[in-house]
Structures are given as C-alpha cells and as structure tokens.
Amino acid sequence: MKKFLFVVIFFSFTIAANAQLNLNVKAALNNLLRYGSGSEIVLGNSNPKEYFENVTDARLSVNDIVFGMRYEIDQPIEYGVNFKGIKKRYVEYNNNNVGIDFRAGDFWQIVGRGLSLNTFEDRGQFYDTGIDGVKFAYKKTFGDKKPVKVKGMFLGGRVLFNDYLVPTRVETYDIRSGNFEISPIKNLNFGGNYVYSQGSVPNAFDTTAVKSYIPEGYGTLTIGNFQMFASYAHKQSNTTPNNSYPTPLTAKGDGFYSSISYSMPKIGFTLDYKNYRFDLTAPDYRGNDRPTRMLPFQNPPTAVKEHASTLLSRYPHVVDFNDEVGGQFDVVYAPSDKVTFNLNLASASRHYNYKNIGTGALIVYNRIERSSSYMPSFSDEFSPWYETYVEGEWYASEKLYAKVSYDYQNSVIYDNLNPAASEKQKISTIPSELRYTFIKNYTLKVNFENQFVYNSSKTTKKDFLNELISLSVSKSPDLSATVSYEWTTSDEEPTGKKAWLLGEVSYKLNTTNSVTVSYGTERGGIRCTNGICRYVRPFEGLRLTINSKF
C-alpha cells in the first residue's frame, strides 16, 4: 500500500509539473548491470557460480523537491540475499535559501566523524545500514559581520542490518537521533548528538531485545594552519532477559577520536588518535552477534591508512571498535609540483591483557589493569599491530609517471590460553607503478607488487612470497585493456592454486556509458572498504559490468 501511495504521489507531481510550464522538471537515470558466470572455491571445493544484478536508480526533481527510487533485481545476487523489487525510495525537499532539508524514505546519515551515527552503503561488501524513516534539518546564520551559524537535525527510522558474514541473519534497530551544532565564531564549531535505539539482535538460538543510549559531543577548531577535531561518545546498552541472556545485561562503553593537522605549502602533517572501548570484554565473549557490542549504525574513523595496492589490501588491519587504542601519523611532502612523498606510521592494540584464573576445564578470565591503557602497547599480550608506509611519486614529464612504495606491517593475534599458539605475522610489500604515454592518448601502465610474508600459524612454509604484475594499455578516453598475473610460493592457499591470470577490457561507449568484461582466475582474499572487511571467495570465469547514465 505504501509503495502504491508513493507511486501515486510520484506521478501526480510529474503530471502537475508538466502541466505548469513554470515548474522546473528534470530527471536522471542510472543503471548498473553485473553478470558473472564461472566457479568459486568454497572450503577447497570448486562450485558453479552465477550471478545477475541490475540496479536502476532514478531521480525526478520538480523545483526543490526530488523523488528518487532504486529498482533492483538480484537473481541470483553475488553476495548476500536475492532481491527483486523497489529497494529504496524517497522524497526530498531541499531549500538552501531558507535552510531546510527534509527527507522521507531511505537515506544515510553521518554526524561528526561517526562515533554515534554513521550509516552508509557498500554494495561490494553487501553492507548497508541505510535508515528508512524521516529526517528534518534546519540551519540558520545570524548576523553579517560576525555571523553565528546554528544547525539542528532530527531523524527517526528503522535500520535493517544484514550480517555480512551470515547474510540471512538480520538485526533490526529503530533509532531516533537529535543533533545540534553551533559555530559562534568562524573558526570554531561544536555540537552534540543523541541517539536512542531499540534493537533486536538474533543469534543462533533466539533474539535479544536491546535498548541503547548514545550521547556524543564533538568540536572543530581552526587556527591558522592548524586544524583540530575531537569527539567523544558514550554508549549504554540494556538487554531484556531471554534464554541466551537470562540476566539483564547493562553494558557501558565509550569512544574517543581526535585529529590534529598542520598544513602549509609543500608540507602537511596529520595526527589521528583513537581510543575505542565501546564493549571491552574477555576473549571468550567477542562474538559478532553479542547485543552489547558497538552498533552497526556507528562507524568511527579507523585511523589506519587506506591502501590502493592489491597485495596490501589483502592483509588489512581489521579494527575492533569495541576494544582498540592507537593512531596514525601522516606526512605529505611535495617539494615540487612533480614530486610528492608520503609517510604514514600507524599502530594499534587492545587495551588490556586477560589471564585465565579458572581451574581445569573451567575458563575464567581476569583483566589485568594497565595504567597506560590510553596508549597502544607493542607487547604480544595486547595483540599489537603496527605499520610503516613510505611512498614517492614522480611526474617526470607529460608522458612519464612513476610511483614506488614500501610498506611493513607487524601484527600478533594473541592466544590467551596458549600464548605459544599466537599468530604472528610480518609483511613487507613493495608496490610500484610506471606509466608512459607513448603516442598521443595511448598510455602503457605497469604495476609490479612484491610481498614477503612470515606467518607463524602456517604449518608447512611459514615464509612465502606473493607477486603481482599487471600490464595495462589505455586509449583515452574510451578503451583500456589489462592483463594481471599473480603467483605465490605459499603451500596453503585455499584454492590449491599457485598462479592466477586475469584479463579485463573496458570500453566507454560515451562519457556516461561503459562496458567492462573480465575473464580468468581471481585469487580472492580479505577485502576491506569503509572499515568493513569480508572474505571474497576466489572466482574463476567471466564477469560483465555495464554502467549507464541517462
């Protein structure tokens, strides 16, 4: 019925808009088609795999009012749950002159840096924490000479969160959020946000009702070349008793994030600090379906570098927002308009060590207090991770470009019961890229990545090598062809393979329509985007993507 009403309203406006010529009516349509046919490896077995996904996004604007919808056919979907129908729909009124922003239907929202509220969609990861509800925001500036800016927002709605590891497990959250921001002087801005949520969190046996209260305060200060941001959020979750949790749980946690940057011509520094303790728990209670953990609609900054290299992205640091302290220091140095250097140092660890004080088969963890828990530790008991990354980029001429990087990561996944079985990993990676325009509009690109891995948990060969070479020829603006070859000396690849070969051709019919076809074998591995990581299964076969805009 709701869908039908939406359709009626949609077309009433369309007809009314056409009837009155003074209305400004515009429309836009995007279509993304993805098809794949081949096989994928699951638990060492090769299984046939086929997917067909077609996502159509349409928007119609009548003056300041925008109607939008997404029609989706995922039969079968590549990852997640099959779907056919209208997946998103909304109506939006946006008037910058009066400062009103209203939206009813589906939307995503971030407040501050996302400690209390940050919803987003990443189709590639089958991750969507979009809100289905209503949002109203108002902003106003008082005064001309020394303007004071204020902004307020209220939203309410429902978030359906499909667990990206078990797509059929769906968590439901009814959320309400109120936000207020004020900028009393030009360089200062601070605000507060309050989120209340009623959630239903299923596990293998039953569903737990959980109420959460998340207040947040944040502020930004800019003084000359300095820019500072700080944010603090507190979370309290109360569960209703059920068979899984017969005693009501009350969990309190918090998170703090701050960044300081200093920039001037040629050089810029950024220092990020994170201290996330939204749900500090013992090692035997860190399941992904526990109701007291950080909620899916929260998404604070990870404070680690995002890599573009293929091999580096295979070994991401998975941030535990419930128990992690650390930060990163990033320097950009551009001594000339042809050369840029980047240095990034990052580290993180858990806050505390836990010791088993149980006897026999009974495991009882006792937290060992640490006065310096506001800083990351490099001791194994804290599952430390650290990374050093340096990069040099050189635009040698109009025709030649080169980039070379070096990355070193060291991590421990500590086993509290058997420390000798802790997983220790050291990875050195050297990605490089060379680009040369040999004829006008024709460019040759070579990527070579070399990676040395030591992993203590491997049973046969603990040291192994991964290498990737990728050769790409492009003709601007419409054509590019790439061949990638990757190989490893590891004996414990889930696929049993040692080498992977993939060819890809992409053709732009015009600036808004493109076709991409790839065929071959893909290694798979962990893929991380927006702080969400999942395992992508190795794939062998054909993939087709058609992207259109009208």
């Binding site: 030009k186 200093y262 325009t437 808004t512 493109s514 992207n547």
Partner: protein, 164 residues
C-alpha cells in the same frame, strides 16, 4: 502487476523528461569551514567543473593534478574548478594537509556524507566529474580518469568558454 505498471510508467516518464543528469544546488563547507553555495559559484563563472574525489583514489589525484593546470590556464576566462571531497570519516582528517601541501588554489569542498555526489547521480566509482554551464545546464559527465582524458576535458572547457 502493480510493479510492472509502475515500471512502464516510470520508463515513460524518464524517456520524456530525462535531460542527461540534472543541476543540483548545494551549500557545503570548504576546507577552512567557509560555506560555499554552487549557485553563487555558477553566477560568478562562465563554466564550472565539479569533481568528486577522495585521498585514497589514485586516478582522482592524477585528474586533480591535470585539472589544477587547466584551472590556472582558464580561470581568468571564467573557468571554475571545484573539487568535492568524498573521503569518509576514516581519512577526512588528511584532506586539508594534502591540498595545502600540493599548493592547489582551487576550491575544495567537503561532501563527506556524499549527498551532493548522490544529487549528481554518482555511483561507487571515482573520480566523477560534471561540467556545468552558466545556464545551469549539465554539459558533460565523466566517470573515471585515464591519462589523456584531460585533452578531451580541455576541449569541452574551451567550447563552453567560446575559445577556438
């Protein structure tokens, strides 16, 4: 049945109304916190290029470098280049230091909830750029950037500025 009817009507509406993307007015803060309205930028310029980018996107940075040169070349003739940053909460803290260190002088706005990106039909791919005329009409849309694309974009800018 309702869905089929709806789809047919929808397709019909778009065939008759679609004008290859639409102008979407917005006000966003720049890297120093000053509010910038697109309407005001368009009024002061002859042609505006909006370019959506992120610090982790290698082709975005290449496009930005090339566009910085074109901006310097044509800004006196009314060309305005506006880079809209789509970094999420993870890397947004590095934007100002990256832009300042590179010595870029064009306008950089923060679209970190990607609302404007959505308003200009941006999907998952970046860089994504839109060329807008003084009449607030969309001249062209570009997804991705390959070495050499700057020549095509320069031709479009010259045509829009009336330069032969």
């Amino acid at each position: 049945m309702k869905k089929t009817l709806f789809l047919l009507l929808f397709v019909f509406a778009f065939v008759t109304l679609s004008k290859a993307q639409m102008y979407y007015e917005f006000t966003l803060p720049d890297i120093d916190g000053n509010d910038v309205s697109l309407n005001k930028v368009v009024e002061k310029s002859n042609v505006v290029m909006l370019s959506f980018w992120a610090t982790w996107c290698t082709p975005c940075k290449e496009e930005m470098k090339k566009m910085a040169d074109l901006y310097e070349k044509y800004k006196d003739q009314g060309f305005e280049y506006v880079a809209l940053n789509n970094d999420n909460q993870k890397s947004v803290s590095k934007v100002k230091s990256f832009i300042t260190a590179q010595g870029y002088t064009f306008t950089v706005l923060m679209d970190n909830d990607k609302k404007v990106f959505e308003g200009y039909s941006g999907k998952d791919e970046m860089p994504y750029s839109v060329l807008i005329s003084k009449k607030k009409e969309i001249i062209s849309v570009h997804t991705g950037f390959k070495t050499g694309d700057e020549l095509m974009i320069e031709n479009e800018i010259k045509t829009a500025l009336g330069i032969k």
